[in-house]
């Protein structure tokens, strides 16, 4: 029977990522509480699980590497080493190494040896250093052992094609300890019988019960003769689990060079079922056999293999291909790899959540059957019952909707977990002391959102550590504690999740920002801006207050990218800052990307949905407020800014009720700091809509983000604010 375990690989990678997070988190804590045994055990278990599971999938590189870490962790557990900073540094780096190896294994790529190689050596040096005089560390790497300690002979392909029969005299005297471990002699004897013809004085089928045997202080011993074609090791393997608690002698009585004879034909007192050893295994690689035979050492093999040329190199040498062609082909291969990775995305869901969902579906089915029953013989007097049932259906649907969304929900702690490590690294690079406070880790939000906010959050944290917090000397001078604090918090607010990243640093510098913005031409020298408008300037493309680009931040990725990412998720970013007291960024994100809160608007007979997060204000303009500015098309003077106006009926060619803006309504929308006024006939109301992709079902339409099914069954389009702004620009270009 062959069982394919490869389908569990994605589960393995997912679980390993959790273990790595546990290790990282644990190591950081260990630095604060060295010698905490619980903590060490937890880290050890995580490393151990990765090692064990990696072996199961044949990721030996991961297994060996983790094994070295495990040795060091074990030394820490046993107080043979101290968890000092250099060691924690090494282990943290090694954790990154494991991560790299796992990623390589996942994409079938070769691991980056320039990183992993030196790390492996440092770990080895550390291991060897600690093992001096102690037990040998060379063994147990998971590779140089036979794959499983059981029947070692059975896993070996039978090397001799013509089996010769051997006869063994076996004397086995088990101690009661054997029985106490749940081993009955009949199992051993049957196993022997499966190897060949067994002659026994005992009646295998009628042995005493295990209870009786275990109670017997003088248990029976067994003397048998076995005639078998199997190797001696296989006979010994039968006693693998009992040899420590038994007296056992196996002597070869006589060797018969019997060729191709069926052992069953020989006289045997007991029926024999000879086990088949012909196993359909691929032959071992040459190197492995040579090592087994003692011809070469593993090191020699390794060295020889490392001299082996890669296919690409050989082809180039033989002029069969140019280096460019090889590079191109390799790139193609690499491009294919991540695609595969994306496919394997999976999610782990609490069984509890699924059970609740199943319950709800059950209720839904009941409601449905009640409704169809009602429909089958409906009379007008049953109208109240119908309404009641419909209310019930509505409740079921809403609950199921919530539960299904909950399936995709994950605690944000998964996204937070990388920050303790990041902050530690940033602190030591910047020469600052930083304390990171995390809260609200249990707050749940959509998996896609979690995956997408990692980078923006990292940027904000880097920003706080790099620019927000002052160097220790400045802090002391300002009467603040030497150690700066970065806080990250997550909480639900309405249908949104808020994530804050705050520091108790110097706060945003109003004058500096203004000066910089003027210098970069973002604003005019005499523009008057409120505080909030000034803070928003740091999100403008091409803005960076850092005077010198440091190692940790300012690598060309600005706050504008953060803002764009957040808005891409349908979120908002806000700043609160006070000079000398610190800055807090608040991200407000929708819980899920599949459903949005929208405002329904009407243009003639058509209904459109405007994402609520983008709406700044709705107004009825005074007659003449919408003016045509040369080169900019129609604009509205909205609080001192000229906002382009898009008449939705023109953009989408529908027959409106009003063509005069002062009769209709202008909805001011904003995204990425840009605004647009959209003219509609009427505001209808607010509702949640499920986004259906238009591109997937039809094609991309400018100004439309997607579609949804409205309450009356018709299709409504969801407006794309970014697209409308582009449309306004485009429109003016045409008009001008």
């Amino acid at each position: 029977m062959s069982v394919d375990l490869s389908k569990f690989q994605s589960a393995f990678f997912e679980e390993s990522a959790e273990h790595i997070a546990t290790m990282e988190e644990g190591l950081l804590q260990l630095e604060q509480q060295p010698g905490d045994l619980d903590l060490l055990n937890r880290i050890f278990r995580a490393a151990h699980s990765i090692k064990g599971n990696a072996g199961m999938f044949g990721f030996t590189a991961v297994g060996e590497f983790t094994h070295k870490m495990e040795n060091i962790l074990d030394a820490l557990r046993n107080d043979r080493r101290q968890a000092d900073k250099p060691l924690i540094d090494l282990l943290l780096e090694a954790t990154d190494g494991v991560k790299g190896l796992l990623e390589a294994a996942q994409t079938n790529a070769a691991p980056d040896e320039t990183i992993v190689g030196p790390l492996r050596e440092r770990l080895q040096a550390c291991v060897t250093g600690e093992a001096s005089g102690a037990r040998s560390e060379a063994r147990g790497t998971g590779q140089d052992n036979p794959p499983a300690g059981l029947s070692p002979g059975a896993s070996r392909p039978s090397s001799c094609p013509a089996p010769s029969l051997r006869r063994y005299a076996i004397h086995w005297a088990p101690t009661p300890a054997v029985f106490a471990r749940g081993i009955h002699p009949s199992q051993i004897l049957r196993e022997l019988r499966d190897l060949g013809a067994l002659t026994s004085t005992a009646d295998i089928e009628h042995l005493p019960t295990i209870e009786a045997l275990a109670a017997d202080t003088n248990p029976p011993s067994f003397t048998v003769t076995l005639e078998t074609a199997h190797a001696r090791q296989e006979v010994e393997a039968v006693f693998l689990f009992v040899q420590d608690d038994s007296e056992l002698t196996i002597t070869e009585v006589e060797a018969k060079a019997e060729v191709e004879k069926n052992p069953d034909r020989r006289l045997s007192p007991l029926p024999s079922t000879s086990a088949s050893t012909s196993e359909n295994r691929p032959p071992k690689p040459l190197g492995e056999i040579l090592i087994e035979e003692g011809v070469i050492s593993p090191d020699a093999l390794h060295q020889a293999l490392s001299q082996q040329k890669r296919l690409g190199e050989i082809l180039v040498e033989q002029n069969a291909a140019t280096p460019q062609e090889i590079t191109q082909a390799l790139e193609k291969q690499q491009r294919a790899a991540p695609a595969k990775k994306a496919e394997a995305s999976s999610i782990r869901v609490d069984t509890d959540k699924i059970d609740k969902l199943i319950n709800l579906v059950g209720e839904l089915v009941i409601t449905q059957s009640m409704l169809s029953d009602l429909g089958a013989r409906f009379a007008m007097d049953k109208l109240p019952v119908l309404q009641e049932r419909i209310t019930q259906l509505e409740r079921n649907t809403r609950e199921i909707q919530e539960r299904v969304m909950a399936v995709r929900m994950m605690p944000i702690g998964n996204a937070f977990s990388r920050f303790p490590r990041l902050v530690r690294d940033l602190a030591s690079k910047n020469g600052k002391q930083i304390h990171l406070v995390l809260s609200g880790e249990e707050t749940e939000l959509d998996k896609t959102v979690i995956e997408s906010i990692g980078d923006p959050l990292t940027h904000l944290v880097r920003n706080s550590a790099d620019h927000g917090l002052e160097p220790p000397a400045d802090r002391l001078a300002a009467g603040k504690p030497e150690q700066g604090t970065i806080t990250m918090n997550a909480f639900h607010e309405g249908g949104n999740i808020c994530i804050t990243v705050g520091d108790d640093g110097r706060g945003l510098n109003r004058d500096k920002i203004l000066a910089k913005a003027v210098k970069n031409g973002l604003i005019g020298e005499h523009d008057k801006l409120g505080d909030d408008q000034i803070w928003q300037l740091i999100f403008r493309p091409g803005f960076s207050t850092a005077e010198a680009i440091t190692d940790v931040s300012g690598r060309g990725v600005g706050m504008d990218v953060v803002k764009r990412n957040i808005e891409g998720l349908g979120g908002k970013i806000m700043i609160k800052t006070a000079a000398g007291q610190g800055t807090t960024f608040t991200l407000k994100l929708p819980l899920t990307l599949a459903i949005i809160e929208g405002l329904t608007v009407r243009v003639g007979p058509e209904i459109y949905i405007v994402p609520l997060v983008s709406i700044v204000e709705s107004l009825k303009p005074a007659p003449g407020a919408v003016k045509t500015v040369v080169g900019r098309g129609e604009t509205l003077n909205f609080r001192g800014r000229y906002v382009p106006v898009v008449r939705l009926y023109r953009a989408f060619s529908v027959q409106p009720e009003y063509t005069d803006p002062s009769k209709g309504i202008l909805v001011i929308l904003e995204t990425e700091g840009e605004q647009v006024a959209v003219m509609v006939d009427e505001l209808m109301g607010q509702q949640q809509v499920v986004i259906k992709s238009l591109e997937r079902n039809f094609r991309k339409v400018d100004g439309v983000a997607g579609a949804t099914i409205l309450g009356d069954g018709t299709v409504g389009f969801i407006l794309d604010v970014r697209g409308l702004i582009e449309l306004a620009r485009h429109g003016t270009a045409v008009a001008a």
Binding site: M1, K51, G149, G182
Partner: protein, 123 residues
């Protein structure tokens, strides 16, 4: 009739794999995430014909679990296999002293595991 096997491992991946292998081979599988949970299953009515346990686990490790199993009259003679990563003799000795019937060294393939199970499972 399928025999019942209790598999105890804190790694969900490992449990899934072992469970899948055993179910495919016709066994009925009960899972537990650590020693404590396993004891809960045993006192709660599970009647496994075999217990397979990992050694390194939170709350209650494998060795303690083996001792606990041996201390329960109904499971005094139930075969218990331990999963170990190392060929560490010490762990094997410790396990045997605690009452483990045998061991399976990780990494193993499904066929190897089924072979060891056949070796210790009373017919």
């Amino acid at each position: 009739m399928g025999k019942q096997i209790l598999i105890v491992d804190d790694s969900a991946t490992m449990r899934q794999m072992v469970s899948f292998t055993l179910t495919s081979a016709g066994f009925e599988v009960v899972e537990a995430g650590d020693g404590q949970e396993a004891v809960g299953k045993l006192t709660g009515g599970a009647k496994p014909n075999l217990v397979i346990t990992d050694l390194n686990m939170p709350h209650m490790d494998g060795i303690s679990l083996i001792k606990a199993v041996r201390a329960m009259p109904p499971f005094k003679f139930t075969p218990v296999l331990m999963l170990t990563t190392e060929s560490d003799e010490g762990k094997k000795k410790e396990g045997q002293a605690a009452g483990a019937t045998g061991w399976i060294v990780k990494p193993f393939n499904p066929e190897q595991m089924l072979k060891v199970i056949a070796k210790v499972l009373p017919s």
